[in-house]
Symmetry: C2
Subunit: 113 residues, 2 copies
């Protein structure tokens, strides 16, 4: 996946403002934040979207959620709350075809789409 933006970030070919990293997962600040806290949490493995999560990815997806907990603590949103969002395809406005979870918080969020 040589041209995938997030694969290039994982490989260190492109810079990112890292929040958390382990063997399987990377978290970094979104360059176009929609709230005071806006972090992207991605698997290092290339998965095109949540529609491409396979049986073999079960524990990886669980691991992403454990990483999100850690990101929430590190960014100070664990107490007041936050939102986890992942977009799929055109209607969802997915912009990078590599699975990523938006962790959004730091202010009161609205409920509209």
């Amino acid at each position: 996946m040589g041209n995938c933006l997030f694969c290039r970030i994982v490989k260190g070919e492109l810079p990112s403002d890292k929040v958390f990293e382990n063997e399987e997962i990377l978290a970094f600040h979104d360059i176009n934040p929609v709230a005071p806290v806006h972090v992207l949490v991605i698997p290092k493995k290339h998965i095109a979207s949540a529609m491409e999560i396979g049986e073999e990815d079960r524990t990886l997806v669980g691991g992403i959620h454990l990483a999100i907990r850690e990101v929430a603590r590190l960014t100070g949103v664990a107490g007041d709350g936050f939102r986890i969002v992942t977009n799929i395809g055109r209607h969802g406005q997915q912009t990078v075809p590599h699975l990523h979870y938006h962790v959004i918080g730091g202010r009161q969020l609205e409920w509209r789409f």
Copy 2:
């Protein structure tokens, strides 16, 4: 968790308009839809929110995502895309303290919070 709304739906004490069910997971239409397709996907096990997902829930969370894929196919949003959202706490506007993933689609979604 006798008073939890979603635990009562899981137990059949309260009705729901089911979309998908397996041993671990239940999916049903949201009673206050924000889009033509708006389904809630929940673990039958009581987990208060995504902040309470534990190491032992890794494969369950993966299973929820496999169920979401199935829900997307069943509701016809897999092709055009959709959004997966889970809210935590006050800033996220979490309304029921039982982990649930909103599957939202059926029209072009906006990107604002």
